[in-house]
Homo-oligomer: 380 residues x 2
DNA sequence: AGCATTTTCTTCACTGCTCGAAAAAAAGAT
DNA sequence: ATCTTTTTTTCGAGCAGTGAAGAAAATGCT
């Protein structure tokens, strides 16, 4: 981006951008990329400045019920290397979470020795409820992970900052990045898959990893004394709309039956396919799921109504089977009658928004915690 | 407050406080009250500065289903004069809201000619859903008020700034003022009475009148296809917990019967008394109300959990009859199991918090919109 | 009474951030 | 070669805030 565009984007004057920009270039936080040739343009050509890729690196860890992904990124946000591992319900029974994570992280570091000295942060995201200390999960749909210390042993072993973040928090921030037209709107992103989750994002600056936006939407009660949920409670939205719940409803298993620990992604895809091809019991199951999500969303609308709703995750493919029930439920809400209901769109890939949201949040935090702490004269 | 205390409260240095304070005293926004004698204190005595009462005046209008209250206040927040009028379900059928308001406002102004030149703002609060323009209510439990233009005619007639605010928005801000120990906590205040409403307040600066904190808690769905609500929908929390709903349940009226337009305050007080003395049908009705509020609160807890909950309004007197059901409902929620449920306290008078919340918000807004706009050299 | 102590408030020189205006630089257009 | 356009830098100024020093106004001790 050129200095002139930076000035108009940030609202600062050219004078300030020039001063700050050159200071950061001296510190090697930014780099001068030289003139960028734009054919047919008059005037002095713009000089692009961009982040110094080698200023620092971070590793982003996405942990969910079915898989784990480890991504080494540089300061410009470019993906340098990536490892994927599948997660089974017994994995964290056999191997302590911190040990499993450390093995994969070490492998990634050994494969990329050039990043070693500048690895500044490891950001882990996982589904569930965090302990207030941020060291571990208090509860999680990922089997056997809750209660195990994660952050402290990794921090001690690796000697760099490690953070643990609720995954749902990132959904909406990431979705905002993918749809520039939503930039100035508040967004609720609902994930439907191995769990049901919602992230909320207000316009304005990027939410830091530590702040708001997290909800327990999946465990909001839908019906008092209703279906059994993986969390042990009854009547949660998740107990009607997560993969295991749809499967249970479709095959006529009583809704008080204990939920499956995990549903293989392929099995759920097959279920969606059956629903789309019109199989009665499956269509019915997705209708039930839609009703739970619709009432949940209607309830959210009464507390903090988002401008836009995005449905995401494996269950998003079945949105057509849920849409009518969702809209009907929204229609029973005064808020949606008076102010029209929010537009709902579907985004099929959930991994990219989560990754992008986490990436942006991590780099922003590094800017604030690491780079801001460097003295004025520092050189990297 | 002395300059030294101002410095430690605001976090600014003594030098800055001195400069800014003297500037504002020159402008007659603040006044020097002279030394305040504190017996037994050593050192130079503190000089108290306070708001110049005569710097400006505002009128605060509280409008609800049963009554209207008009309060003339000065810049120091002192109540100068007040008018109360009862509101009947036919009032706004017979008299247009703007006309009714104008009559009372004119009376208040005539009684207090000394405030005339410095009346800077009229702030109206009412229950219901506001039009985005802020000129009128789109929907309200106050009969015949929705849809009628309120702000524009008053602004034209009185020639000063007029604002219309959702009442529930003020509940929590006001409650925060009354309980200093809640200063750094997020608070949800639930009003139970002619309606059911909730205001949320985050710690930090005072919310301006235009910003967040408003909810439609009373019209959050409790049970799909449930009891008929005054808003025309079915199953709202209000349809189980507002005064008309408790009355309906207690006397075995079918929950699909059209709700009463208003319940006289005395009739509801009597109902609370009957419940407290153990009358079975009334106790049952309040149990039902408590269950609706409890599930509603549990649902709110999944989206933006407050640290503290305050119950307020005429129905607060019956809190003991609802407590068990509220706590039971909270217990069905994963969030309340993992992180303990928020403490719930009762505040019996609802009018004071609403008034205080509105007062503070109005004066803060005047600081920002009016006083901040005055040039550096201005003198009042 | 006279001086030390304590506390409040003001003054003053200085920093850090930002801005507007002018100037410099680097290209294409004439 | 000169004009125009666009980007970038330089320079002086303004503003909000600070720390340190000092002035002011009381009490307490001898």
């Amino acid at each position: 981006m050129s200095r002139t565009r930076l000035a108009s984007t940030t609202g600062l004057s050219h004078a300030s951008i020039s001063a700050i920009g050159n200071e950061l270039i001296n510190q090697h936080v930014l780099v001068d990329e030289g003139e960028v040739a734009e054919p047919g343009a008059r005037g002095r050509p713009a000089v692009r400045v961009s982040f110094n890729r080698r200023a620092c690196h971070a590793i982003i860890v996405e942990l969910d019920v079915n898989q784990a992904r480890f991504s080494l990124v540089d300061y410009a946000g470019t993906l340098v290397d990536r490892i994927e591992r599948s997660v089974t319900p017994t994995l964290f029974h056999e191997t302590r979470p911190a040990v499993f994570l450390r093995e994969q992280l070490d492998r990634l570091r050994q494969r990329n020795p050039e990043a070693e000295g500048t690895l500044r942060r490891i950001a882990i995201s996982a589904q569930g409820i965090l302990d207030p200390t941020g060291d571990r999960l208090k509860w999680s749909p990922i089997a056997h992970i809750a209660g195990e210390s994660i952050v402290a042993p990794l921090r001690a072993a690796l000697g760099c900052e490690v953070t643990l973040t609720k995954r749902g928090r990132l959904l909406a921030e990431g979705a905002r990045l993918l749809y520039p037209e939503l930039r100035d709107l508040s967004i609720a992103t609902i994930f439907i898959g191995s769990t049901v989750a919602m992230g909320m994002s207000l316009p304005g600056r990027v939410n830091a990893l530590g702040e708001g936006g997290a909800t327990e939407f999946g465990h909001m009660n839908h019906l008092p004394d209703g279906a059994r949920c993986r969390c042990g409670m009854r009547g949660c939205i998740e107990a009607y709309a997560a993969d295991y719940a749809v499967l249970r409803t479709a095959y006529g298993v009583p809704d008080q039956a204990p939920p499956a620990a995990a549903v293989p992604p392929a099995a759920f895809q097959e279920l969606v396919r059956l629903g789309q091809s019109g199989r009665r019991n499956v269509v019915h199951a997705f209708n039930v799921a839609g009703r739970a999500i619709g009432y949940g969303l209607a309830r959210v609308m009464t507390i903090s109504p988002p401008h836009h709703v995005i449905i995401i995750g494996p269950g998003a493919s079945a949105f057509d089977l849920m849409r009518a029930e969702i809209e009907a439920a929204l229609g029973t809400s005064l808020v949606c009658r008076i102010n029209s209901p929010p537009p709902i769109t579907v985004h099929h890939d959930e991994r990219e928004p989560i990754f992008q949201g986490m990436l942006l949040a991590t780099l922003s935090e590094l800017d604030q915690s690491y780079f801001a702490g460097l003295g004025a004269g520092t050189r990297l």
